[in-house]
């Protein structure tokens, strides 16, 4: 069920340059299903900024009813959000969208989790859930530079992890696709989230591997009603288009026309 709830801030801290980790508590967590789902956040009561901001769910704790997001404070809305103090309430709409499919890989299999920048967060909950069922995740995490890298250790604890930075200030220099070849293991499936350009490159690089990609689009409603977030599809599927907010944000490789 989708709810709108004023959730309380439990923890909020800057974990890398302008990258914030925000933990909220509330009933809404009950309804969070798959990793890769997102929430739509109203950052202030004011009419300015007006629209909600879509942010992925980075980890879920059903026991404590807490969930965590990781976001970059760049524009007006996220900068305001970054000032929220513990105890304060945040207006959250969610959970929204369909996340990454679980049960695509089975016990003992290796899978690739590939994230770019602020596309990395949803992969964390995904990785935890895969590890729970014995799947062996290999993480390839791309960032601009060392100062915006986050969750390196958290991912290492879950499995093999490769850090890639555009400027080479940490890990491999270049793009996530550069390290694909260096992956020794046989992988059955890959899961990716990041800039559209990265997703496109991955599809080309891994044509014969089953893949699931999480897309970004500007949103209005976040519910599927306004047709703001539409992507054209390939001939592979029947529908002429898909909505990132309600049909996605995750789609199997080859569905979205790039």
């Amino acid at each position: 069920m989708i709810r709108q709830e004023r959730m309380r801030v439990v923890k909020h801290k800057e974990i890398a340059h302008n990258i914030f980790e925000l933990t909220l508590i509330g009933q809404l967590v009950h309804d969070m299903k798959n990793p890769g789902q997102f929430v739509h956040i109203r950052v202030s009561e004011s009419y300015e900024p007006l629209l909600r901001r879509p942010i992925s769910i980075a980890s879920i704790d059903r026991e404590t009813l807490e969930f965590t997001m990781i976001y970059r404070a760049e524009g007006r809305g996220t900068t305001i959000l970054s000032q929220a103090k513990p105890g304060q309430e945040v207006d959250v709409l969610g959970p929204l969208g369909n996340g990454f499919p679980l049960g695509q890989a089975s016990d003992g299999e290796h899978v690739l989790l590939i994230g770019g920048g602020i596309g990395v967060p949803p992969l964390y909950e995904l990785s935890k859930r895969l590890v729970d069922v014995g799947v062996k995740p290999i993480h390839i995490l791309g960032f601009q530079s060392a100062d915006v890298v986050f969750y390196e250790n958290e991912f290492r604890e879950l499995g093999e992890t490769h850090i890639v930075t555009v400027d080479g200030s940490l890990g491999h220099q270049g793009f996530v696709t550069n390290v694909l070849d260096s992956i020794a293991e046989e992988v059955s499936t890959y899961f990716a989230c990041g800039p559209t350009a990265m997703l496109g490159a991955l599809q080309n690089a891994l044509p014969d591997t089953k893949g699931f990609l999480s897309y970004e689009e500007r949103m209005g409603c976040g519910l599927g009603a306004c047709f703001a977030c539409v992507c054209k599809t390939t001939e592979a599927v029947e529908a002429d288009y898909v909505k990132v907010c309600s049909d996605g944000p995750v789609f199997p490789a080859g569905v979205v026309r790039l």
Binding site: Y47, P49, L50, E217, L223, G224, C226, F227, A228, C231
Partner: protein, 303 residues
């Protein structure tokens, strides 16, 4: 007796609150959040003769207290809308206002003719004001003669009352309103969006793929309110007012200016429960103002 009930040509509204066209799809998504029967009516997404895939993305951009959109009238087309969307909506006790768009007069006529036969479609909203399509839409809405002609053509075939949706992007909106009234419009809905633009400061290029988009939200309320006020003085057919409505106070303002009912658009994105919330708040607001029935609000600014 229901303090919120409003009777308009073709429409028996249990309350004067309805979602605006294009901001509520065909209702399915919001039906997951609350019972659509609670609404006074539903203005469905613009329907065209053929399937439309709309404009490239990005289609929306945020502005100060507002947003720009250039969806481009994406919709599954007349057939699917009737066979799938409207049939599905029949499970709710809510009148549907079908927003009709097209490129040529014949398109409008064809769509209106068929869609007006649907059981739950109680009125047509003639969209002559969409700023986001290359041809059709707004071109009909900025010339009084053309608007009047189209209205007459649609009136001739429609089996339900026809409301004409006016564009604010004109020098004299009163002139257009009078023209469509003279050619048989049963009511007016206003306003559609103001044409606007946002640039990416870094690149200097438009944020919206279409270049320009339609401005909506609280930012446009003063313009919308003034236009409703002006048109109310010049026509005797009812007005369904909209433009930035977000709170119950906004509803009071639009009705005071002369609207008989109101539509809520952009606010649905900010708060998906805004319509039912406003409906719940209306009675108390009426008490506060000392009115018994919501219809007493209409036109009080002019008294």
């Amino acid at each position: 007796m229901n303090r919120l009930a409003v009777e308009l040509p073709g429409l028996s509204l249990k309350n004067p609150i309805m979602p605006a066209s294009g901001c509520f799809g065909f209702g399915k998504e919001y039906a997951k959040l609350y019972d659509l029967s609670k609404l006074g009516a539903i203005m469905i997404k613009a329907t065209t003769l053929e399937t439309r895939l709309g404009n490239p993305t990005p289609r929306v951009a945020e502005t100060a207290a507002g947003m720009l959109n250039a969806i481009g009238l994406q919709n599954p087309g007349l057939e699917k809308v009737i066979a799938e969307e409207l049939i599905w909506l029949e499970q709710y006790e809510v009148p549907i206002i079908a927003n009709v768009a097209g490129t040529l007069t014949e398109d409008y006529v064809e769509v209106a003719k068929h869609i007006s036969k649907s059981k739950n479609v109680k009125a047509i909203e003639l969209n002559i004001s969409c700023p986001n399509v290359k041809c059709g839409g707004i071109t009909f809405g900025t010339d009084a003669a053309i608007a009047a002609e189209l209205t007459a053509a649609v009136k001739a075939v429609s089996e339900v009352p026809v409301y004409v949706k006016l564009s604010p992007n004109v020098t004299d909106i009163g002139e257009i309103a009078r023209a469509v009234e003279a050619s048989g419009a049963d009511g007016i809905t206003m306003i559609n969006t103001l044409i606007g633009m946002r640039l990416d400061t870094r690149t200097g290029k438009p944020v919206i793929a279409n270049g320009t988009g339609g401005l909506s939200g609280p930012a446009v309320k003063p313009v919308a309110l003034r236009m409703v006020y002006e048109v109310a003085k010049q026509v005797s057919i009812p007005i369904i007012g909209m433009g930035g409505i977000t709170t119950v106070d906004d509803v009071i303002d639009f009705m005071s200016a002369g609207a008989s009912a109101v539509a809520v658009g952009t606010a649905n994105f900010v708060d998906p429960f805004v319509c039912p919330n406003i409906i719940d708040q209306l009675p108390e607001k009426l008490d506060w103002l000392g009115y018994h029935h919501v219809t007493e609000l209409t036109g009080r600014s002019h008294r």
